[in-house]
Amino acid sequence: MTRNRVVESDVCIIGAGIIGAMVAEKLSDERQASMVVVEAGAWTTPLSERFESRRRFLAYGENPWRHDHVADQKAPGIVSRSMVVGGWAMHWGGVSPRYTPEDFRLRTLYGAGDDWPLSYEELEPFYQEAEERIGVAGEAGPRELDPRSKPYPMPPLPLSYNLARLKAWAGRSGIPFWTGPEARNSVPYGGRAPCVRCDTCSICPTGAKYSPDHTFQRLIQEGKITLLSGTLVQRLVLRKNSDRVEYALAVDRNRPERPVELRASTFIMAAGYAWIPHLLLLSANTRFPNGLANRSGLVGKSMHGHRATHAHVEVPVQLYPGVFRHLSLYTSQFERPKRLQRYVRHDLRIAESSYGGEPRLRNETGEIQFGNEILADWRVRTKAVGRANVRAVYDVLPHRESGIRLDPSLRNAFGDPMPRVELRDSQESSDLRPYTQAKIQEVFRRLVRAGGGKILEIEEIPGQHHPGGGCRMGNDAATSVTDSFGRTHDHENLFVVGGATAVTSGCTNSTLTFAALALRQATEIGRSFPTKQVRESTLREKQGTPRLGLTARKGG
């Protein structure tokens, strides 16, 4: 009989995405604690090969991220197959706005949704810390719309010619827009070079966009963590006659015949909204027959996300599409209403678009065209006009049953049931949906009335984006899974960090908020360990000359 391989540490972090990276970096900066990060996926395309993988992505649509998922870890309804060192944030676009203070007090202010057990003011220092650790370039908006205690760590990325024209166009509406914050370097930062506008942010070939593998590589090189990739945690096992987690039982896919016991005093689950509840449900035992941390019955429940509505707009401005498209104008004006007859909040972003301005094979009357005709038709349709994508994201208030369940009909190679994800609107949210859409369309029309042009199409993207929840936080153990610091109500040494603990989804991209939550949670977790004498703070090291030697490559 093969003995288990035992790996011991003070802290075991399950999941090596952006949340795991934030927690590992912060704890290693501030506390004396040995750390193991365990990741079911593999390492993906190294930085040195990303120009080539970008080239093949553009030429053939190939996945630029090799080995970025695990074949038998499937979950119908999940928003991404990514399961890799770095997680979804290897693919992400880097859009990094904050939620607004209202997001944390929806029930109190508007009588909708739920309040969070913490305020914006409590989270604000950790927003700042997340922006500094990730490296966010941004422009502060008007103070009444964009409350922040310090400037962004980097100046904003410069507006493209097109976006500057669109800002003037949108400004006629009286709505204040500013440059959207981005996790992309506008100056050398974090040992990485500035952005060189490759316009393929889902595969940044230079490392100018933050991705968590940079953090993990550095922590490994500095001997601060051990990262076990290709290692799938299958169960959390409790100490006998105790509610404390004793070890995580895992399988190393390279040596599946020898189980791995990950023993630690503190366990941190950082595997995202779907896989954290999945592991808790899989870990059911005789004392916790519904899964660990699930006395409330809320593990895998109350998941939430955004819905996005786009207006494709033709504007009376000559644009030159195709340069630096992955930057947008942003406003939080519609996220911050004072009083409301009916609840409606949304963000608003504007970016250049090629919608309806592309070359086409058939002309207006449906006749097939070839070269000269295609070109002439294209020129006519793009002369003296441009296209913009105006996007509003609004929050879907979650149904209690919105979430995951174990699906016994779908199992991985080890026989474990996989999750099935089904996000549902609450009745309240369903009732509000037509009203919300009407109000958003009013804003689209206001922009066009003031600036000129016409709306070509309004489109609501199906599904929910940026999901969170599944282990919602709260002060009452009967109605939540964790406290506001991510400590599970049922297990004192088991923490859930990041988006899985979020109560509602906010009205804008969530990654920065999830990172800020995780850093606040890591602060509390760290109190169990001795303070480290910090010689050179990681944050102070962020500024400086790129050490990765990544610069624009001619012809890239």
């Binding site: 991404s80 316009d199 599904g463 890239g556």
Partner: protein, 226 residues
């Protein structure tokens, strides 16, 4: 007045556009170094077995390219597009995992190698003992239109798609990215899609050195292209 291949006169405006293109080629280098440069990489490629790049009649494809690509490209420009099309096709690998979109749990793979199918379609342009190249312009246009119509291009125009509503093969999607050209149901559509999704085509349309997808420093980000 100069005469074009199809016998029509070339206008001053046409010459101006061609002059613009030459000047961009000479001065910026952007068009010579497109973001989607498809030179074969150094690493070895697997032998796909059925690959038969030599099956394609490249002379015939050049003749087709001269008829279906914009005349503003000139002979050298058309030759350059055909060369890059060949490099692109040569470097293609079927069955490779495609980028998996957001909001989907499904994976997909690059489609089968179209070379043999496209070679047959090209041969079919030489119909009935009368070669394509020796036919009149009117006859060539008739054959091209018939061939493209025969493979089915009746699908409604759809300018965009989402991961939740993935594109099906069709001419409207083909023009949106070079990657889609490999799914073209006919070699003529593939060539058109390959060119019109290129940075070169954007520059030609707007008569400005925009150079989409070319990596470059931030310093000139706010400048008007050209």
């Amino acid at each position: 007045m100069r005469r074009r291949r199809d016998g029509e006169s070339e206008s001053r405006k046409d010459r101006s556009r061609r002059g613009f293109l030459r000047s961009v080629l000479a001065s910026s280098g952007l068009l010579l170094l497109p973001a989607c440069d498809v030179r074969p990489p150094d690493r070895g490629r697997p032998d796909t077995g059925s690959r038969a790049l030599s099956e394609l009649d490249w002379e015939l494809l050049r003749a087709v390219a001269r008829d279906v690509l914009p005349t503003e490209l000139g002979d050298d420009g058309v030759e350059d597009v055909v060369r890059r099309f060949r490099d692109w096709l040569e470097d293609y690998q079927p069955g490779v995992e495609r980028d998996h979109g957001y909001l989907t749990a499904e994976l997909s793979h690059t489609p089968e190698d179209p070379t043999s199918r496209w070679a047959i379609q090209l041969e079919e342009l030489d119909e009935g003992g009368s070669t394509y190249s020796q036919s009149s312009l009117t006859e060539r246009q008739r054959r091209l239109l018939a061939a493209v119509r025969a493979v089915g291009t009746e699908r409604p125009m759809r300018p965009s798609s989402t991961a939740a509503d993935p594109p099906e093969p069709g001419e409207s999607d083909l023009f949106l990215s070079t990657a889609n050209a490999i799914r073209a149901p006919h070699v003529v559509l593939a060539l058109l899609a390959f060119f019109f999704s290129s940075p070169q085509a954007t520059d030609l349309c707007f008569q400005a050195p925009i150079g989409p997808l070319t990596c470059r420093e931030l310093s000139q980000a706010s400048a008007r292209p050209g």
